[in-house]
Structure formats: structure tokens, C-alpha cells
């Protein structure tokens, strides 16, 4: 690595967060600049993916349980939530949410005498995160719901025989079993979600001061150089690394979920899907 490349890294490594050199490279476009800026953009993909996944996990569990209850007042809203977010394209959801957030009054909303700021919702870091959170919650809820339906009856009967009821039974038996059954599919959903984060800056949410994600910068380079054969393979490379990391982390959890079952430590098979 040449000395010049270290300078580029110093200038652009955190460009996507607004630190470092203000102006993006305008000509020349070295390979080093490609790698640094696109890598810098990847910070946003990781940010969106990790936070949406963590928040989405809890909502998904709640919605899956809601879908499985007999009470239609709870079941119906949960079913509709899943249907709306799984039945429509994420791309349109982004556009829709952005327009919705833009329409909120600029000065904020008065709630009990306190003005709630609404401007930040139109920014990608918050607005797009909310959409991704709800979207992944809906997809994961469907996965968890399916797993919940296939929890073995014998497990539940055994739990009852031990005197476990209510929250205790759920916490110790139902929930871990559900997670164990859902985990391979949930791993795919996680990978899928990280891929979906590339849509954010192409769907209404503006990139402020040219701070965008990995694909945003790749697109910038491809537009400027009119050469798609460098920038896009670099994004692909970064995403393969990201995908492998996700698979690695999720298999560690998978091992833990299955550790009480001898010979059941199946490897997670990654079955790719595309756009939601």
C-alpha cells in the first residue's frame, strides 16, 4: 500500500458519517479511493442492518405470539401487519414512509404541552431505520409464527407435567424451542435484511452532504467513470464479507440453541433470496 493510500484512508474512511474531506474525489479515481469510500459507506449498511435486526427481533416475537392467539382483537391486527409489510415492495414502503414523514408539521407536534420534534424522521438514519425495523419484524414474525406452530406437542406436555405454566413455560420451553426451529430461516432473513439496506439511498431518502451507504458511493463512482466493472464488484466483495460474518455469528448462536441435542448441530444452509 502506497503512502498516498494512507492519506486517502485518513481523508475518506469516515466520510459517510460526515468526517474527513468534504469534497468527494472528482477525477483520477484510484482503486484506493474506491475501496475506502465504498467501505466507509458500508458503515451505514451495518448500522441499519444491526439496529433493525435487534429491535425487529423483539417486535417479531410479540407479533408471532399475537398471530398465534385465539382472540381476534389481537390476532387480526397482527395478521394485517404481516400481510401489509410482506405483501408490498420494500422500495414502495420507503417512498411511502418518506412522504408520510415529510407531511408531518415542520415545527413538531404538540403533545401535552411538549413539542415533539419531527424533522429527524425525514432523515435516512431515523426514517429508513423505522421502515427496515417494521419490515424485518413482519418477515421474522412469519418465520417465528411458523416455528411456533411446529413446537413439538410432547415438549409442551412435558413442561406441563413439570408444573411449568404461563410465563415460566414460555420463557423456558416454548421460546427457546421456537428460536431453535426458526434459526436457519432467521439467518437467511438477517442476510436478506443487510442486502435490503442498500435500497435506502435509492428510494426517496436523500443523502445529506453526499453521506450515503456502500452502494451510494459505488453508484457515484460508476456514474462518474461510466465504468461499472470496478465499483460494483467492490460492493459485491464487501457484501460477501458481510454475509460470511453474519453466517458466522448466527451459527455460533445456532450451536448454543442446539447444544442439548446430540447430533443435531446441523450446519445452517444459506438459501439466498432476493428483494422483498
Amino acid at each position: 500500500m502506497s503512502v498516498g493510500c494512507w492519506d486517502t484512508i485518513a481523508a475518506y474512511a469516515f466520510r459517510s458519517l460526515g468526517y474527513g474531506e468534504r469534497l468527494l474525489p472528482r477525477e483520477g479515481f484510484t482503486l484506493c479511493e474506491h475501496f475506502t469510500l465504498i467501505g466507509s459507506g458500508l458503515i451505514w449498511n451495518v448500522y441499519f442492518g444491526v439496529l433493525a435486526l435487534i429491535f425487529g427481533f423483539f417486535l417479531a416475537t410479540a407479533v408471532a405470539l399475537g398471530k398465534a392467539t385465539a382472540n381476534p382483537l389481537i390476532r387480526k391486527p397482527c395478521e394485517w401487519f404481516v400481510f401489509v409489510f410482506r405483501g408490498s415492495p420494500l422500495f414502495i414502503q420507503f417512498f411511502f414512509a418518506y412522504q408520510l414523514f415529510v407531511l408531518l408539521p415542520r415545527d413538531g407536534i404538540e403533545i401535552f404541552g411538549i413539542t415533539a420534534e419531527t424533522r429527524w424522521l425525514t432523515r435516512a438514519w431515523a426514517g429508513a431505520l423505522i421502515v427496515l425495523f417494521l419490515n424485518t419484524a413482519a418477515y421474522s414474525a412469519e418465520i417465528f409464527y411458523g416455528a411456533l406452530q411446529s413446537v413439538p406437542r410432547g415438549d409442551m406436555e412435558a413442561a406441563e407435567a413439570y408444573g411449568l405454566t404461563g410465563w415460566n413455560k414460555f420463557r423456558r420451553i416454548t421460546w427457546p424451542t421456537m428460536l431453535r426451529l426458526a434459526w436457519p430461516a432467521y439467518t437467511n432473513e438477517a442476510i436478506f435484511l443487510f442486502h435490503a439496506t442498500t435500497l435506502v439511498y435509492f428510494s426517496g431518502f436523500p443523502a445529506w452532504q453526499q453521506s450515503g451507504d456502500a452502494l451510494y458511493y459505488a453508484n457515484y463512482f460508476a456514474d462518474k467513470t461510466f465504468n461499472p466493472f470496478v465499483a460494483y464488484p467492490i460492493v459485491a466483495f464487501y457484501f460477501i464479507l458481510l454475509t460470511l460474518t453474519v453466517i458466522g455469528l448466527f451459527s455460533i448462536i445456532n450451536k448454543r440453541l442446539n447444544q442439548h441435542l446430540p447430533g443435531e448441530r446441523k450446519r445452517i444452509r444459506y438459501r439466498p433470496q432476493l428483494i422483498r
Binding site: 415492495p89 414502495i92 439466498p272 428483494i275
Partner: protein, 290 residues
């Protein structure tokens, strides 16, 4: 559209809405729903064909062909599809122009890539610079369809490859025992039986394809997303039908359109699954016998 729409300023209430929704731009926008349907109608069979070719190649006893097939099914793993969309739409365009350049202008000496420019001889340009607007639009749509077909073909190849392997081995052995050649066993035994195994995957792929159609907008086609943005934006008094920013309503209409499309697909695919399960030695097939 209606003759009483001649002077929009005098219209009120329902009449205004009726005239607004049937003005020229809106009628063009309604056509773009047709663009989406056309894309689905062309892409689905073409990517199925790509997938079939890919899966067959991946099973081939000829090593280079097998690598080609395996490579094709592997490219879409781990990389966001939208990267492929953005990549292929330029790469295909430049590829076509480059090939035409090699054939049509063999005497051209200047380099094709000059800094940030991609320069081919005028005769190799696609479409030709003097072509009418419609040709440009058709070419853009063609590139989009091809891009969709390549990406979705890779996924279909994955599914069909798995389905071909899921057909019980005994079926093929029986075919060989009857003296069928390799080719005969493939076409008469393997292919007819693989569909039921491929159907869940293909149904899923169809749903994903439906939900991927708004990405046409990113490929530069004037699709429904383009029109929703165009028509929804606020219109000042200089327009015949001034209104504030109505984007939200246009995007809700798109949302409803897609929800309807996926719902109809679900119902239809459910029926096909039922039909194909008849007479199969599977749980679903057994259930239908009772």
C-alpha cells in the same frame, strides 16, 4: 377525456376529480401499470428458461459446462440483487455497443475507454443517435428485462437444480431399466416429475419478482414509481389542475396495487400447487385422495 373538462378552472368537487384523474398525463401513467405487467409476463418465462439452462448445465457431465452452470447459480449468493441490477444495466449496454463496435468499425483506432468516457464509433451506438424516442424507450425496457431475467434466472436455476435432485433416484433407475437413453430419461421422467418439487421455490420466486418490479424505476424506465413521483409532486397555479403535494396518496395507491397483486398470486399459486399435487406420492398428494 370528457367534454365538460375543457375549462378546469370552473370545475368543482366530483367533476374536478373525474377530470383530474382522466387528464392526459394520468392516462399515460395508467399505461405504466401495463409496463409492469408486461415486464412480469416477459421476465417470468425468460428467467425460467435461463434457470432451466443454468440447472441443466450445472448437472452436465462436461466439466467446463458444469462450472459455467455452477458459477451462474453462485453469482447471486451473498451480494444484494440491486447491485446486479445497477451493474448489468450499464454493463450489458456497454457490452452490446462494444460488440457492435468490433463488427461494424474494425478500422477504428482510438481507444474505447477515454478517461471517464465510453466512446464507440457512431454506427455502433445503441440505439442510433438519430433513432426516434420510442426506440430509446424500447431499448431501455429491453435492457431492463434482460437484467431481470439474468438475475432471476440465477435464482430459478438454484431452485430447479434442487428440484431435479429431489426426484427419487429410483425413478431414473427404472427409466434406465426400461432401456431409455440418458436424454429420454431426462425429458420423459425427470422433467415431468421435478415441477412439484420446484413449485414452492418458484412460487416464492414469483412473489419476489412481483415485489422487485418497482426497481424498474432505478433502471431508468418510466414505470409506476416514476409516475407516482411525477404526478404526486405539488402543482402550482400554472398547471391546469393545481394541487399540493399528493405523493402520499399516489404511493398508497401503489401499495394497494402491490398488495392486491401479491394476494391474487397467492390464491392462484395455491390452486396450482393443489392441482400438481394430484397423484403425487407426497403428503399433499395423499390428502387429496381421501
Amino acid at each position: 377525456m370528457f367534454e365538460w373538462c375543457a375549462d378546469p378552472d370552473t370545475l368543482e368537487g366530483f367533476a374536478w376529480v373525474a377530470c383530474y384523474l382522466t387528464n392526459g398525463k394520468h392516462l399515460t401513467a395508467y399505461m405504466s401499470f401495463g409496463t409492469v405487467m408486461l415486464l412480469l409476463a416477459i421476465t417470468a418465462p425468460v428467467s425460467l428458461a435461463f434457470g432451466f439452462a443454468g440447472a441443466t448445465a450445472a448437472r452436465s457431465p462436461v466439466a467446463p459446462l458444469r462450472w459455467l452452470g455452477k458459477g451462474y447459480t453462485a453469482i447471486v449468493r451473498g451480494v444484494p440483487d440491486i447491485v446486479f441490477f445497477l451493474f448489468f444495466v450499464i454493463a450489458l449496454d456497454q457490452g452490446f455497443e462494444w460488440m457492435r463496435h468490433q463488427v461494424l468499425c474494425p478500422d477504428w483506432t482510438e481507444p474505447i475507454r477515454q478517461g471517464s468516457d465510453f466512446v464507440v464509433c457512431p454506427a455502433a451506438k445503441l440505439p442510433l443517435s438519430n433513432a426516434p424516442q420510442a426506440v430509446h424507450e424500447v431499448y431501455g425496457f429491453f435492457l431492463a428485462v434482460l437484467t431481470f431475467a439474468i438475475v432471476f434466472g440465477a435464482f430459478a436455476a438454484n431452485i430447479l437444480f434442487g428440484a431435479m435432485r429431489a426426484v427419487p433416484r429410483a425413478q431414473m433407475e427404472t427409466a434406465e431399466a426400461y432401456g431409455m437413453s440418458h436424454r429420454q430419461a431426462f425429458w420423459r421422467v425427470l422433467i415431468p416429475q421435478m415441477w412439484i418439487f420446484a413449485l414452492p421455490g418458484l412460487s416464492n420466486l414469483w412473489m419476489i419478482l412481483v415485489k422487485a418490479t418497482p426497481l424498474l424505476f432505478l433502471l431508468g424506465v418510466e414505470d409506476i414509481v416514476y409516475w407516482a413521483r411525477e404526478l404526486g409532486g405539488s402543482k402550482g397555479p400554472i398547471f391546469d389542475y393545481p394541487h399540493p403535494d399528493w405523493s402520499l396518496w399516489y404511493f398508497s395507491a401503489l401499495l394497494v396495487f402491490y398488495l392486491g397483486l401479491t394476494r391474487v398470486s397467492e390464491v392462484v399459486l395455491g390452486r396450482i400447487t393443489r392441482k400438481l399435487s394430484h397423484g403425487q406420492a407426497t403428503v399433499a398428494g395423499e390428502a387429496l385422495r381421501g
